[in-house]
């Protein structure tokens, strides 16, 4: 296995002592097959135990290790050192407040996620003896792609609208709302539309498409947002232009 001396330039911020962030350079010997997260772990284990960052699964499932790697929102566990020959600049995800070093505060995203009610809503629950809510493979396919979201918030770091307009509910939360709207077992679309078919919902999106470009699990949030726009436009036409308000 080939070893290489990797240079990392890492964003540092200590909320107890710093007013401004700084960058710290580390040189650490790594195997070429490693990912950026391995390099950070080696720095923490051998050079600087004060370095802070989040990680858990090391396999692009938990969504914890999102950070800016050479200016691009990426999962550190999903970014191979072999693709970065020079100095690797590592910063916390943009558009989020920085708690410490590479750790950001996801509070705003979590609050927005809660608002879109990302769970199955039933107007009338079936009794237990009626059995499970069945679904065909065809019905599953309608939303499966959007169910793959790992809440890593890379799409929020990529979205300039979210960076500029903090009230924007944002890509992942709206994509998850769409996921439940598309689910044949769900009856809660009206409740979610009140949140997402609004100025702070899909109508804040100008279709930059960056969210889909950076999504590590190919959820394609931009697709969900555009579909919500189209469906909401049809709702409006039905309500305002059809006799009887489309009811």
């Amino acid at each position: 296995m080939k070893e290489r001396l990797v240079q990392l330039e890492v964003f540092r911020y200590n909320p107890d002592t710093d007013r401004q962030p700084s960058y710290q350079r580390y040189e650490v010997s790594c195997l070429e097959e490693w990912v950026v997260l391995d390099a950070l772990n080696k720095v923490k284990e051998t050079l600087d135990p004060t370095l802070n960052y989040r990680w858990s699964c090391h396999m692009a499932v938990c969504g914890s290790c999102g950070m800016m790697i050479n200016g691009e929102p990426r999962l550190a566990c999903h970014t191979f050192l072999r693709d970065y020959p020079g100095v690797i600049r590592i910063e916390p995800l943009v558009h989020f407040p920085v708690e410490r070093d590479l750790i950001t505060a996801p509070d705003d995203f979590m609050a927005k996620l809660k608002r879109v009610k990302p769970y199955i809503i039933r107007k009338q629950k079936q009794p237990l003896e009626a059995g499970e809510y069945k679904q065909t493979p065809r019905e599953l396919l309608r939303y499966r792609q959007y169910a793959m979201c790992i809440n890593c918030t890379l799409c929020y770091a990529a979205c300039p609208e979210y960076g500029l307009t903090k009230h924007f509910i944002g890509p992942a939360a709206i994509a998850l709302a769409h996921r439940y709207n598309q689910d044949s077992r769900d009856q809660g679309r009206d409740e979610r539309q009140e949140v997402i078919a609004t100025k702070e919902g899909v109508w804040e999106c100008t279709f930059v498409g960056a969210c889909s470009e950076v999504c590590p699990v190919h959820v394609d949030p931009a697709s969900a947002l555009q579909q919500v726009k189209i469906a909401s436009s049809f709702d409006w036409i039905k309500e305002h232009l059809l006799p009887g308000g489309g009811k």
């Binding site: 943009v94 500029l164 279709f207 555009q226």
Partner: protein
Amino acid sequence: MSRNPLIREVPPTSWYFRHPRYLRYMSREITSIFIGAYCVLLVFGLAALAGGPEPYAAFIAALQSPLSIAFHVAVFIAALYHATTWFNATQVAMKIQIGEDFLPGSTITGAHYVIWAVLSLVILGFAGVF
């Protein structure tokens, strides 16, 4: 220990220089200005037409000036860029499910090009080009 998070503001007028994909987005959006300007020109053309043969002849003569031709070339390039970028984006916005599969994105984008070509031929036919 209390929280003291660092807030990093996004520069409101220069954010699109931060990444090439933002520049591509802005260039797509800026082409709308050219499309809008051409619509204004067409409104002036309609007004000239409504004014009678003389104003309309003057309008047509003005269109043949070098400045007008340069404007038309610029608008044409912008319109091509505008149309192709949006046509390529249609496959993101339209997910057409057929049974247990989705229609390929290239088919959706391709259909838009076909409709564009057909409509262009129809309009050119109305204009008496053929």
